[in-house]
């Protein structure tokens, strides 16, 4: 039951990403190309998602806890460090090169297009390399 509900929530996300145009790298890259073939659609995606989540979270956080889990698991790290800023900058560069972000690419896998499979495989390689280097770090300091 819990996993089926979770599946349906993923489906709502996937349908939203599909309708919004975030599955389409041509559209995403055009949003970032103000000097060229600019397509401002993504402002509406971001705006719609942000306002809805902002209101939704206000309502949800008014409860003592979630419906199907013991407590809300929100990130507690508050550090504005180089790992956060450097990581975000690197992500921006990758997004600008490929045109896909993870939130757009995962639902796009459902279209069966091989380009999406290649991109997601490359992202997985990147994640594993990063996890490996992050995992090795504490050992280096010993």
């Amino acid at each position: 039951m819990r996993l089926f509900v979770t599946y349906l929530i993923g489906l709502v996300f996937g349908v939203g990403i599909s309708i919004s145009g975030m599955v389409n790298p041509a559209k995403v890259l055009n949003f970032f190309d103000i000097a060229g073939s600019w397509d401002p659609s993504l402002i509406f995606v971001m705006g719609g998602a942000l306002v809805t989540t902002f209101i939704g979270y206000r309502l949800v956080f008014g409860r003592a806890g979630p419906v199907m889990a013991p407590r809300f698991e929100v990130p507690t790290n508050r550090a504005l460090d180089m790992r956060l800023i450097g990581g975000a900058a690197v992500f921006g560069i990758g997004w600008g090169i490929a045109g896909f972000c993870p939130g757009g690419a995962l639902p796009a896998l459902g279209t069966g297009r091989m380009e999406v499979v290649y991109f997601v495989a490359a992202v997985i390689v990147g994640i594993l390399i990063a996890k490996l280097t992050l995992g090795i770090k504490p050992v280096r300091t010993v």
Partner: protein, 143 residues
């Protein structure tokens, strides 16, 4: 490659994304971040952790299929970049989202909606770098 401006479809899709983020917090008390979902499926920390993320991922992938079932057409996916750029960009994205602890959905939507300063800083940073990268790729390198 020109694309059609779609304010209403994009707004509607955005609202659904926000609805999904809200529902995941309401039911499981979790942040709807694509990076966390993918990361938790390929390198799970526990069995339970894997299960809910795999369920979200399966739902996400079903999104375009649901669109196809209703409209008879898959959502448009036009890839205007070469395969090497797709692969290099993918590895770079994977590195960045892991070090930066999130992407457009986790930081840009969920974190910003919680007014998390980390997420605001991350979102502003990656947006600036994406704008700059697209400018360099298209107008300086002419690719």
């Amino acid at each position: 490659m020109e694309t059609v401006f779609t304010p209403w479809a994009s707004l509607g899709g955005g609202i659904l994304i926000g609805l999904a983020a809200t529902l995941l917090m309401l039911t499981l008390g979790r942040v709807m971040g694509a990076t966390g979902v993918l990361s938790g499926v390929i390198a799970p920390t526990s069995r339970q952790d894997f299960a809910w993320r795999a369920a979200v991922l399966a739902g996400m992938v079903s999104g375009p299929l649901a669109i196809f079932a209703v409209s008879g057409a898959m959502p448009t996916v036009d890839v205007p970049v070469s395969l090497p750029m797709l692969l290099i960009g993918g590895v770079v994205v994977g590195l960045g989202v892991t070090y930066g602890s999130g992407c457009t959905s986790g930081h840009g939507v969920c974190g910003m909606a919680r007014l998390s300063l980390r997420s605001v800083v991350a979102t502003v940073t990656f947006m600036i770098f994406t704008f700059a990268t697209v400018y360099v790729v298209r107008h300086v390198l002419g690719m």
